[in-house]
């Protein structure tokens, strides 16, 4: 019997097989991890939906596998109707005709498959996508739906390069936020001639996913970065107190929960920063919820899971959630759900050093806030009408914004409001739902 790659999550059609956890001949129990699949969002473990012996592994480590593709063959029994795993195992029945666009790339499998209908797209002369026969062939072979490509040729003609871009760029529409247009990297690839004293490693997995995501962001959003400084002396004191309380409850309290709360306060006043641009429909989507992505550096690279519903969580609750999500990121235990629904992102560069960074927006969000190192600094303070030099806890906050949606003045006003809460954290207690 065959075990096919189950659904990986909303909008995710493929992933890289990074590791097999079983080998040929292994006895496998139901729900035992079979392999690790890295998608452009997360690494997930695929549990078995059967019990029995592995007869053959049908995919290699490093290979990009598609949902529905045969991963392994086994001798044993498939476990049906088994709760949570049932929904994960939502692969099409083998007898169901699968449209060619969803068929696996391996031609050998196409021939052995039962009767399948091919999606040849619209063939009406007056309305079909403008593409030459050779371009249509390329699209068909790669499962690319020409109807979804905006051609770059005259009159919107779809060129071979347009299809190649879709194929090479992972432009399967697997972009968080729904109807965002598929990403296409620019034409032309850099080639670097082989040289001595150089090592070549495959550019894939999370590294490639990061590259795609960053390129996509820069291709769409028009970035600008605004930096403001803040006196965080009061916040340092407050955090110290809360930290002690947290320790008693087994929760590690960092500055992040406070920053997130101050962000929500600012976003409520300037909701445009909590929006996305639906380019296809030409509409700005205002999010009435506050899910803050958190940039986390892992051994494999950068990842940005989402802390959900920040508005309605207490500081301690948030601290707990952040601790959990960081732990799961570092142990590769994040799930697709952890990446879903972000509305703005917070990146923390301060743990290493530097004055401030100019972060890249986690597209299709329109804003990313950079929290930098806190340092002690002599500043001029006004005390009882006279100016004095005082030593204060100080930091810089940088915010990168998509200027298509957020103007500089609005961004600056948001920062002013945000920093008002940061400098006077007691104000946070005036907010509801703290």
């Amino acid at each position: 019997m065959q075990f096919k790659l189950p659904e990986l999550g909303e909008g995710v059609h493929e992933g890289e097989l990074t590791k097999w956890k079983v080998k040929k001949g292994d006895q496998v129990a139901y729900d035992q991890p079979l392999c690790e699949i890295m998608t452009d969002k997360a690494t997930v473990e695929i549990p078995s939906a059967f019990k029995g012996k592995v007869a053959e592994l049908n995919a290699k480590e490093g290979e990009v596998v598609k949902v529905g593709q045969v991963m392994l063959t086994f001798e044993g029994t498939a476990v049906a109707g088994a709760g949570a795993s049932e929904s994960k195992q939502a692969t099409p029945a083998p007898s169901a005709p699968a449209p060619m666009s969803a068929a696996p790339a391996k031609s050998a499998q196409a021939s052995s498959a039962p009767a399948q209908t091919v999606n040849v797209g619209g063939l009406a002369i007056e309305s079909r996508p403008l593409a030459a026969p050779s371009t249509r062939k390329l699209a068909r072979e790669n499962g690319v739906d020409l109807g979804r490509i905006q051609g770059s040729g005259p009159h919107g003609r779809i060129l071979t390069e347009d299809v190649e871009r879709m194929v090479g760029g992972g432009g399967s529409g697997a972009v968080a936020g729904g109807a965002m247009p598929a990403y296409k990297p620019p034409v032309g690839r850099t080639s670097i001639p082989a040289g001595p004293q150089e090592e070549r490693v495959p550019f894939r997995g999370l590294r490639k996913a990061i590259a795609t995501k960053m390129r996509q962001s820069k291709d769409h959003a028009t970035h600008f970065t605004y930096v403001e400084e803040a006196d965080v002396s009061q916040l340092v004191q407050l955090r110290k107190q809360v930290k002690e309380i947290g320790e008693k409850q087994g929760v590690k309290v960092t500055f992040l929960p406070f920053i997130m709360k101050a962000m929500v306060a600012g976003l409520k006043k300037y909701p445009i920063l909590n929006s996305s641009l639906d380019e296809e429909k030409a509409e700005i989507v205002y999010k009435k919820y506050f899910n803050i992505g958190l940039s986390i550096q892992t051994d494999d690279g950068l990842t940005a899971p989402v802390v959900k519903d920040v508005e309605n969580k207490t500081i301690l609750h948030l601290a707990h959630d952040i601790e959990e999500i960081v732990k799961r990121a570092r142990t590769k235990k994040l799930t697709q759900d952890d990446f879903h629904g972000g509305t703005i992102t917070l990146t923390n560069a301060g743990t290493i050093g530097g004055l401030f960074a100019t972060p890249i927006i986690n597209y299709p969000e329109v804003a990313i806030l950079g929290f930098n190192k806190i340092f002690r600094k002599p500043v001029v303070v006004n005390s009882g009408g006279s100016e004095q030099i005082a030593i204060r806890d100080w930091t810089y906050f940088s915010i990168s914004l998509d200027h298509r949606v957020v103007d500089g003045a609005i961004g600056a006003e948001f920062m002013k409001e945000f920093i008002r809460y940061i400098e006077n954290p007691a104000l946070l207690f005036l907010e509801n739902n703290l």
Binding site: P114, A115, K137
Partner: protein, 480 residues
Amino acid sequence: MATTQQQADVVIIGSGPAGYPCAIRLAQLGKKVTVIEKGDIGGVCLNVGCIPSKALIYAGTTFDKMDHVSEMGIEVKGATLKLPKLMEWKQSVVKKLTGGVGQLLKANGCTVIAGEAKFTGPKSLEIKSKGDTIQLTFNQCVIATGSRPMNLPGFTVDQKTIIDSTGALSLTEVPKTMLCIGGGYIGLELGTFYSKVGTEVTVVEAFPTLLGAVDPALTSVVQRRLEKRGVKIMLNTKVKGQKTTKKGVEVTFEKDGKTFTETFETVLVTIGRVPNNENMGLDKAGVKLDAKGFILVDAQRRTNVANIFAIGDIAGQPLLAHKGTKEGLVCAEVIAGKKAAYDVIAMPAVIFTDPEIATVGLTEAEAKQKGLNISVGIFPFAANGRALSVQEPDGIVKMIGDAKTGRLLGVHIVGAEASNLISECALAIEMGASVEDIALTVHPHPTLPETLMEAADTALGHPIHIFQRKAPSTQPAARV
């Protein structure tokens, strides 16, 4: 009378213009192919269809030319046509081609079995071959059994006085009179030939127009020529029956409720073609047919039985050799595991009347039916230098574009060499060209394809070699 068991990988039933290209492409893709043919290699097209008919039509046209060369100062005295000699030559052309196909199949390593195949199940066939029986099991099978002329009740074809297209290709005497029943392309092509070699031809058609859905602007050019050469055309007329008399075949017609009779030496029945789906055990294989007896297939030409495919005429309209060839190639690639599909947008059709007709894409009527706002450009052959210098001023090119997008939607040609002009248009439509693309492409002078360029210019409102008044205001100027 031996029975043998054999195993094959891919089996193709039929070696016509669908089957044999399919076999060759499969072989190129590394498959082991067995071709079963109950008749002659090459099928109807090569043996009793496209090729021999075009050989005869060419001869007829050449003979007919003799009547028109005197104005060029050429005197031909006593030109005669010996039909048996012509048939011999035609047969030599056929033999050359079928022999070539046989060699190609062999060179590609295909096994050819002469015999009649019958399914005994979805993976097995029984072949009657020269008295022996072969039980053949296969992995995949391609049905390419084609079609044959449709019978007309009451007109039993004896290939002597009542003939079908096959019989018309091997007469050895020129009939004095001939009735063509059916004003479709086969009737008109063969009728024109016999008219050119001296037969008094009558064409009877039950519908109000000749050539079915072909643009009437094209048909009228052909009809005028036919009438000019003395061919009698009876439209809206049905044939009710016939009886053989000493004088020939007495045919009873009915028009407007009135019946009348007329006698002909020969009656040619060309009322359509039917699929060859009988006596081959399709039910044993479980293959489904549509209401008209054609095999139902998907975009990869796969039948409802996963390992059985159908291509060519047996797989449905349009019944054209080149459509079957395309299907054969698609199907071969599918069987070899490639993601091929039949995604033809522009299916050209050619009719070897005098002058020829060639069409591709939407007709004006079809475009209007779809509610499209179109721009139409018509350019006459009479305004083309080459057409005049080869004595072929009769004809037009009708080019149809989408008025909004400029997209080329259809091209319809009647005129000399129309069959050789249409491929450019098919390519243009497949490539998604605009009418302007055709107009902007340099066409060499002096050639007939210049008519295409000028028809495109006409659609755009600025032809050089005809004077065009400003388009009426109701018709928006083509903007492409």
